[in-house]
Symmetry: C2
Subunit: 297 residues, 2 copies
């Protein structure tokens, strides 16, 4: 099947999907992105992803590349043309193409939009969750505004690579006070020995993950004891469970941190239970051909 | 005249100079760059720029996209085809094109190389230096490895834009202890009331500017009293002079910091004198058609 990407107004064969070398995303990291899960051909939590995109764009003062409702149509069309049933759709908005200069270009410069989609087998993701994953910890060396979902991801790239070379799935960033901030592409959670669910508050130290937000709602709905507060690596190592969340990993149990077992070294029961509960709570948007609901923006 | 860019093996009309949307530079900020001044059609301090490129690539474990000597040929050819006499040449190397994933792609993925060049009138740069520029100060919110010349420049973009909106040319980043690190795209210098030249050591807090290095040699050669140490905004405001350096600004006097005059609010005599001295000390590489000297790498 021919893969298709949307690039600035055109649906192109993936191999021909190109942007200008002076796109500010390429030369300056001047852009934002979203990754939205596709489940059964439908968008998961689209409304929240679009609301977060709106916040990212506002924080960087980048205009919407098109009306939100039109973007919903494009995203669906990319999912449809790529016949993605289960996988993800990726969208990136940059400040556009202009002669290289750090300062913003003239207001007339249009933002650039790229949308791609790809299938990811459910089985492989579920198998990973069933086995649990390992994480390592690294000093958080990122910039101060990681609350904005920008494409300036080099620190995350290096951290993830370090994790993979250590045989781990993810790297947890640790702040100067010894508290875990988040993973290189996931949010971090623990379950204390007395059953409280703990995750760091979504201040400027972490990205406010959409999956994180939904899971907080699930936990509240189930009456779980919930604490939004920082936790240390030592507390995580002494915890009953640990797990990570993101749009494409959902709830995935963590069984080792820096080579040491969490709990008994097997996926924790709460994480196992929350994984399907999260899915049940997600907002599944109308299918391919339907118009999207307008996000609250 | 038709502008030409070099993109991964081909010389293309500027309008057609494009990279794939899954170039890791576009989606992950996973690349490095250099800006080299062109003077009289020749490359300024090419050897040092290539040595720094080598360091940046090593730090990120990106391979050279071609042999250094071949890159020198490409850079010259881009300068020549664009008929740049006075201006700059820009080169960017990214980790290449691969399906989006934070971790490094397979070793077989080739790094991507883009080279562009453009003219910048000498007169406009000299006029700016003659008048002097204003800077503002901002908290340094960048990541911990600004010593690597990466394309993940979003914090610099936002700082430079803030400066421009304040009527200033540059933003100085200030660390948590109140010391100036560097500008968004320049290094920072002051001249104390007793005539000592002060600039921050090139630790991980700043980029080791090529122009900074050459100027340190000039200052040493002239027997100036030199101190590589951090200085605060207050010290800069009380200094006799302040100035900034970069490949494209050379030595440019600073006459205002956060709206307050430096010295008498006019370009300082040492900065004025060092500007041509810097040019005299620069290594001017052979002209367009000559092969480059091999950098020490």
């Amino acid at each position: 099947m021919l893969r298709i990407a949307y690039v600035n107004g055109r649906y192109l064969p993936h191999a021909d999907a190109a942007v200008h070398v002076e796109d500010r995303g390429y030369q300056l990291g001047d852009g934002v992105y979203e990754v939205c899960e596709v489940s059964g051909g439908r968008l998961v939590d689209e409304r929240r992803h679009m609301a977060r995109l709106d916040r990212s764009l506002r924080e960087l003062r980048i205009r919407w590349p098109m009306a939100p409702v039109a973007l919903g149509v494009v995203v669906r069309e990319v999912v449809r043309r790529n016949r993605v049933v289960d996988g993800l759709v990726y969208l990136q908005v940059t400040r556009g193409v202009a002669p290289r200069d750090h300062a913003f270009p003239a207001a007339a410069v249009s933002p650039a939009l790229v949308v791609t989609a790809r299938s990811i087998p459910i089985a492989s993701r579920d198998a990973r969750a069933a086995k649990g994953v390992a994480v390592i910890t690294l000093p958080d060396n990122r910039w101060a505004r990681v609350d904005i979902k920008t494409i300036a991801l080099l620190p995350n790239v290096l951290a993830k690579q370090t994790a993979h070379e250590a045989g781990a799935f993810e790297a947890w960033f640790v702040d100067g006070e010894g508290f875990v901030t988040e993973g290189a592409s996931t949010n971090a959670w623990i379950v204390t020995t007395d059953g409280r669910l703990v995750t760091r508050p979504a201040d400027t130290g972490i990205l406010r993950g959409v999956t994180r937000t939904v899971l907080l709602e699930v936990a509240t709905g189930e009456g779980l004891r919930l604490e939004e507060r920082p936790f240390s690596v030592a507390e995580a190592l002494g915890a009953r469970e640990a797990f990570l969340t993101s749009a494409t990993t959902a709830v995935t149990p963590i069984v080792r941190i820096d080579g040491k077992n969490v709990g008994d070294g097997r996926p924790g029961p709460l994480a196992i239970r929350l994984r399907p509960a999260l899915r049940a709570a997600a907002e599944i948007a109308p299918a391919w051909s339907s118009p999207p609901s307008q996000p609250n923006i």
